[in-house]
Amino acid sequence: MNGTLERRYRRLLHLYPKAFRREHEEEILAVLMASAAKAQTRPRLVETFNLLIHALLWRARHTSIPNPSRGGVMNFKWADENAAGIDKRIPAFEYRHPRLFCVLLTCTGAWFVILTAILYGYGVGGWWGAVLMPAAAVTLFFAYRLRVIAGKS
């Protein structure tokens, strides 16, 4: 049973870039497993959103996007080169596929907005707005940043 949960958490941790997983995957997995209830087989929804949002924040913090003022040259680099285990040569996966991820993130952001509207429309929104609206804002912001890159590539 724990094996199932662990496998699902590992899959979720793929939201983080490879450099993060190389350094922290086992450690964060230990924390997630220790926090889980005994009979739990699926990651909790709140935990899933938390990992999604923080994976995006981590990517934003450690990746700089190309500066259009540099003649449009694609110049990927990690913002914090001192962070342990970071491979400076490889940009984050979404920056290598900006067009695809721009569409995916726009759809995800739009879905968060629609979902919020549906939940509140049926009067069961509660605190979900506080989770879904920031998630929508973050994903749409990333989609906008990737659109800039997609336009240059």
Partner: protein, 107 residues
């Protein structure tokens, strides 16, 4: 300083802690008010390491699981002491004014 940061630094002021240990300690310090999620904790630890306030201490394998311990740096301890002093001073100002007014805000 954000409350989460303050609570993590406070937890580490008691000695080095691993990830889950920090979560438990933060919950205890905040009397159950703050329950850190794994994503939040590691984003905060990453930022605190970059700022030089915490650093990895040692690693252990317990039940086939990796435990990496973190500790407060000298800079981290100084920043925490400054923040604690600031909060103490604000709390003192608030309580002394409330005492003067008998605990009731003037209308």
């Amino acid at each position: 300083m954000q409350e989460t940061t303050f609570l993590i630094l406070t937890a580490l002021a008691g000695g080095s802690r691993h990830g889950y240990g920090i979560i438990i300690d933060v919950e205890e310090i905040s009397t159950g008010r703050v329950r850190l999620r794994a994503g939040t904790l590691y984003t905060a630890l990453d930022r605190l390491q970059s700022d030089g306030l915490v650093e990895p201490d040692r690693e252990e394998i317990v039940d086939n699981r990796l435990r990496r311990y973190y500790r407060l740096t000298a800079t981290g301890a100084r920043r925490l002491a400054e923040e604690a002093e600031r909060l103490r001073s604000n709390a003192h100002a608030a309580t002394s004014r409330l005492d003067l007014n008998g605990g009731v805000a003037a209308t």
